[in-house]
């Protein structure tokens, strides 16, 4: 995920000059490493009948290996497949400067699978372990959960800017990913402060990226240039997901006996209400001159951001009105509950994985 944030910052500060930028290599190295390490796990388990992993493996197309290794290997192949597809896409339709495009989604699916594979690989071992080893693996699972949250929020980065934060649509978008990850990792890790931990890892990671990247010099190599830059443009200040996460952890500690449907419904409402309550006023603050410093980072812009844009003028997009507002708000609520249910259900499955 360092490579992804670095690459996006590269695009915002320098622009793409070659495929072989360090950030790009960093991203695709992730796919290569996942592919190689998982291929080793699968081949060694398949070919070595005395392998200690053999009894803890699943069989696919004649190969044997831990389930997570297959998932991560699939992700690595998907990431590598996206490279020629993306290259052709650029040739056919020009260099896309947007994150959400078909080849980028193949890349994102690959990256998500590498994360999920790592989580499943850890979960399989963790669910067979006890004591200190289980505790260590639990920490690793929480870290991977944090990285999954980073990955999903990156996908939404260009449609969840601070200018979007006073629209109901913004809350619907965040509700698609955050409850999913929080619910899944809570059930998968069985750690009572899991949501706080996962969102804390996300927060620290994004903060570090937003503080470290501007320390390095960069100048735009592409035009049109609307903002003169002398350093890397960092990501925006992280979303305040830790607050609803903390409330959810408290809630889940008191509702452990509830059914998954009831828990998802209540958790979805709580998540949305708390997140809305903290992010909305915080967005007001982000628009003020007080936030235009290295800490909150609202003084940084990508070189191509038009000075007439809402973002550059520190203004919010107009909030939905009337029926559209109610519709978006209702959809945000339904999305939060549904995502929470999917996360909890998937987390339950992961908590039972032993291979």
């Amino acid at each position: 995920m360092v490579g992804v944030h670095w690459d996006i910052s590269w695009h915002r500060s320098i622009g793409r000059d070659t495929f072989w930028t360090p950030a790009h290599i960093c991203i695709h190295l992730c796919g290569v490493l996942a592919g190689i390490s998982c291929a080793y796990l699968i081949l060694s388990t398949t070919l070595d009948r005395q392998s200690p992993l053999r009894n803890c493996s699943v069989g696919i197309w004649g190969f044997r290996g831990p389930l997570g290794a297959f998932v991560a290997a699939w992700g690595g192949i998907a990431m590598l497949t996206s490279a020629p597809f993306d290259n052709w896409w650029h040739d056919a339709y020009g260099l896309d400067v947007k994150i959400i495009s078909p080849p980028h989604m193949v890349l994102a699916a690959g990256m998500m699978s590498v994360h999920m594979g790592a989580l499943v690989l850890i979960a399989g071992q963790m669910n067979r372990a006890s004591g200190e080893l289980r505790r260590s693996l639990q920490i690793l699972a929480l870290y991977v959960g944090g990285m999954i949250l980073v990955c999903l929020t990156v996908l939404q980065m260009e449609i969840t800017t601070r200018s979007d934060m006073h629209t109901a649509h913004f809350y619907r978008l965040v509700a698609m990913v955050a409850p999913l990850v929080m619910g899944a990792i809570a059930r998968a890790s069985r750690y009572k402060w899991s949501a706080t931990a996962v969102t804390g890892i996300y927060t620290i990671f994004v903060l570090l990226m937003s503080w470290i990247l501007p320390l390095f010099p960069a100048e735009p190599k592409l035009g049109p240039v609307y903002h003169h830059l002398t350093q890397f443009a960092p990501p925006e200040f992280p979303l305040l997901l830790m607050v609803p996460a903390f409330v959810l952890d408290l809630l889940w500690q008191r509702t452990a006996g509830w059914g998954i449907l009831r828990q998802a419904a209540v958790s979805g409402v709580v998540f949305l209400a708390v997140f809305w309550a903290v992010q909305w006023p915080f967005a007001n603050f982000l628009m003020t001159p007080a936030a235009r410093n290295w800490f909150f980072g609202t003084k940084y812009f990508g070189y191509y951001i038009s000075p007439n844009s809402f973002l550059a003028r520190y203004q919010f997009y107009r909030m939905e009105q009337g029926a559209q507002l109610w519709q978006e708000a209702a959809l945000a609520l339904a999305t939060a509950m549904a995502a929470m249910w999917v996360g909890l259900a998937w987390g339950n499955r992961v908590s039972c994985i032993r291979r």
Binding site: N55, A92, Y93, K221, G223, H227
Partner: protein, 468 residues
């Protein structure tokens, strides 16, 4: 649809017709440069820039693209170094990204023994093609896609069947059945997801097609025997307008009427726009025939366009040409075109012409006695005008001594210079004129050259055979 081989050219290409490359001869301070810019067919994309320095004391050249107008025209990104050729140290080449559709300029920064200097060359950045996927690439991606889909179904199936079993335990019949049901349902889901992805791809392609350049069309009507009425018809492309035209050396439109296929009658006319927005022109006397019309205009952004149409006209009893209008029946001269008043226009080069190569085409005007003409005048502020036309009419480029760049666009790159875009010399005009240009593809071409001497505009025409 996407897996067809090849490239579809969707429109006649930008300014000029079928001739997208920019050729320019100009001075960066004391350094004389010949510049060729090959814009990318897809925006954003990479443009190739070749520069030949006629000065020997150039040390380094940098190139940087800028939008023609607006705040971004004042904020250049980091310039790229144009690297000198190992074989020819006065030949420099480099690449630049053109990131947005519209009117751009390439700033050329020269450093040499006579100090730093710069030159700006207008260049249109327009997507002009829709590329379909090559078969080989299509098959590779399709196979990888099938592999990934099958792999996904199998992994989920294996997970359902075995992932929750205790180490060493074998799956039971119920687990296997459950796994098969999950795989069947998932297969349907994967097919639906692939279909949704394909539909998304289609919608992205449609969105891209919105940006592909769609040139203006000419609607030409002959009224009252010799009155031509022309309407610019916009097929719909982004936010283009037809009422924002800039005068290009004094005229909003330069119209070439060429009788096809012989190209034996050529007129260079200048219709005036009436109050209704219609361009009007009183035609000169013209023989009947099938004419190709090429109307050059320049938008306020500096973006040039050539609107085209073809018409069948009866013999026209017209009025004598007035102002800058000139032309008529022409005879072909290679290398010497004999003009109606007995003077001659000689093509000085004997070149073996190849497509995509930049050349400087030189012509000399001689009077009836065979001596270099001494009564040359500027024709619309220029030593001469030339048009390069392919025999099938699919390539047309209106070129000046400074190159294929329209003067109105050039003037926008030098807002502080009121004389940008036309020459200032009024006396001592040489009898030679040259035009930098390169043919886009092989074929038979005609070169139409117009100069002015002794108060008369003369038209000479030459054949050019261009090889691969």
């Amino acid at each position: 649809m996407k897996l067809l081989a090849g490239v579809l050219l969707v429109a006649p290409l930008l300014a000029h017709v079928g001739s997208p490359d920019v050729f320019f001869a100009g001075d960066a301070g004391p350094y004389r440069l010949l510049v060729t810019i090959r814009p990318p067919p897809v925006i954003p994309g990479v443009a190739e820039v070749d520069i030949r320095s006629l000065a020997t004391d150039v040390r380094q050249i940098h190139i940087v693209p800028l939008p023609m107008r607006g705040i971004a025209s004042q904020l250049p990104p980091v310039p790229d170094l144009a690297r000198p050729s190992k074989e020819d140290p006065q030949f420099y080449s480099g690449t630049i990204w053109m990131m947005a559709t519209g009117s751009w300029k390439v700033r050329i920064e020269v450093d040499g023994a006579q100090g730093p200097a710069r030159l700006e060359v207008p260049v249109p950045a327009l997507s002009t093609r829709v590329m379909t996927m090559q078969k080989g690439m299509g098959w590779i991606l399709a196979l990888l896609g099938v592999f990934l889909c099958a792999g996904l179904v199998s992994i989920i199936g294996a997970g359902t069947r075995e992932a929750q079993l205790a180490p060493g335990a074998a799956p039971d019949a119920a687990g296997i059945r459950r796994s098969r049901i999950v795989m069947a349902v998932l297969s349907v889901g994967v097919i639906l997801a692939a279909w949704a992805g394909y539909a998304w791809w289609d919608s992205e392609a449609d969105e891209y097609f919105r940006y592909v350049f769609k040139p203006l069309k000419l609607d030409a009507r002959l009224e009252g025997g010799n009155r031509l009425a022309i309407q610019l018809v916009d097929p719909g492309w982004l936010n283009r307008r037809t009422d924002d035209l800039l005068p290009d050396h004094g005229h909003l439109m330069h119209l070439y009427a060429i009788r096809m296929p012989a190209m034996d009658v050529v007129w260079h006319l200048h219709p005036e726009r009436g109050a209704s927005g219609t361009f009007e022109q009183t035609l000169p006397s013209m023989p009947a025939g099938h004419y190709a019309l090429y109307g050059d205009v320049v938008h306020a952004s500096g973006l040039p366009e050539t609107a085209i149409t073809e018409v069948d006209w009866p013999e026209i009893q017209g009025a004598p040409p007035a102002g800058d209008d000139a032309g008529g029946p022409v005879t072909i001269g290679n290398p010497i075109a004999r003009l109606p008043d007995g003077s001659q226009l000689e093509w000085l080069d004997n070149l073996k012409l190849r497509a995509k190569q930049p050349y400087v085409f030189r012509f000399r005007v001689m009077d009836a006695s065979g001596q270099p003409a001494s009564d040359m005048e500027l024709y619309m502020g220029m030593l001469g005008h030339a048009a390069f036309v392919r025999s099938d009419g699919s390539v047309f480029a209106h070129v000046h001594p400074s190159g294929s760049v329209p003067m109105a666009a050039l003037a926008l790159t030098q807002p502080q210079n009121p004389h940008a875009g036309h020459m200032m010399m009024q006396t001592g005009i040489p009898p030679e004129v040259s035009f930098p240009y390169g043919f886009p593809r092989p074929g038979e071409y005609r070169i139409i050259v117009q100069v002015k001497r002794g108060g008369k505009i003369e038209t000479g025409i030459f054949d050019a055979k261009v090889e691969e």
